[in-house]
Amino acid sequence: MSLRVLDPGALALVEDLGRPGWAALGVSPSGALDRAALRLGNRLLGNDEGSAGVELLLGGFAARFETETWFALTGADGPAELDGQPIDTHRAVRAPGGAVLRVGRPGRGMRSYLAVRGGIAALPVLGSRSRDVLSGLGPEPLRAGDVLPLGDPGAPVPPVDFVPVSAPTLGAVELRAHHGPRADWFTDAAVEAFHDAEWTVSAESNRVGVRLDPPAAGRHAAPLLERRVTAELPSEPMVAGSVQVSPDGRPTVLLADHPVTGGYPVIAVVAEASLDLLAQARPGQTVTFRRA
């Protein structure tokens, strides 16, 4: 059983729930950025929640099922078709052998997940099949012609007709954020401004982190995130969700492929439950940080 990639689109990566536990050796947790979406896809198929799927960036993906296979698309909301016929996302679909799946550009969100019954059986590295773009661990980014082996199906495909999911928003993404370990390195006004401001997702964002642009000048004097302590910070451990502020005052929210340590002070840490939302935020979209 296998899946042949015809077109990877902008970026197609094998991801599961990552490889936590190796950070002391310099290895990030990695794994699907929208974990709820991957989990849901797996559940729809009767897979283990942590089975590997394919994380698709902005659609444009095409693949052929070499044998009859059940699959599900979750995450970003957009058009998809199987042998030219439109198919629903967020439900288990049976593909006959030889059928071609095409995933279009989503209207909302950034990342869709292709879960396949039995999971993608790529070679695990340190217990995970996730591609880590920072450290280069895990299966290479998919290319046209790649053939992905599929695992043995476990449980039967559960009889679920419909699961309620809320499509990613096109409007402001509201995240919850905790006080960061170095919030006291910033002025009180800076911490206020961090929570008040409407930030914009920069195009310079990836699985390592989401860079944020400050609101257009006017309401806030620059730099928005003024430091109280200007000393250099000795490198310290980072987590997914850490909001690092670089010397120019721009925040970056670290994601799953983050460096395990970093030298910029962390003003806030995005709550675990909000990270999936951030995975779907598009460049140009507004982000706000409510106090967790």
Binding site: A23, G26, S135, H179, P234, S235, E236, V260, T261, A292
Partner: protein, 205 residues
Amino acid sequence: MSLRILPSGDRALLAELGGLEEVLSLYRALDAARPAGVVDLVPAARTIGVVVDPAVLPLSAAQAWVERTRPIDSPPADEVPVDLPVRYDGADLAEVAGILGLGVRDVIDLHTSSVWRVAFGGFAPGFGYLVTDHDRLRVPRRATPRTSVPAGAVGLAGEFSGVYPRASPGGWQLIGTADAVLWDAAADPPALLRPGALVRFREVP
């Protein structure tokens, strides 16, 4: 020991200490007695990151564990250092000697006679920031980082020495080359240099 607990989201906390020695001592103790639910224990320059699975070990329990753990100041007496053969052929060896006001031979002798310890990792899988008990090899990073440093390059930067586990950009001053495999994801353990480990560099032709 000065210990301060800092928040780091809903799955982690940072233990901030007075310095690298205290980090190593507390890391040694924490690593030796991890309760269930500790996912990652990450030493750094002044802090130790404690990442938990809060369903197994709530953050408050993790904090209590860190606060009641007594640091272990001395490494085990029978500890065997990792032996790292090095050809001292680095592109910056002469420049490093110049910066330090030493001869090239003195730099090599100092590097090989010092006992190094892996303080922490973090730059790439398998990279270790190595420290020793003196700062006579302290040099600044290169003003302009190299776009590519080969795997095995042995470098100095600030108070640290280190070996690049694979080719990557880098700003360290390069003094030699090691042939040892520092990172093999298929090996157990995958890293030759782990936090806390002792390292001796040995000159080879």
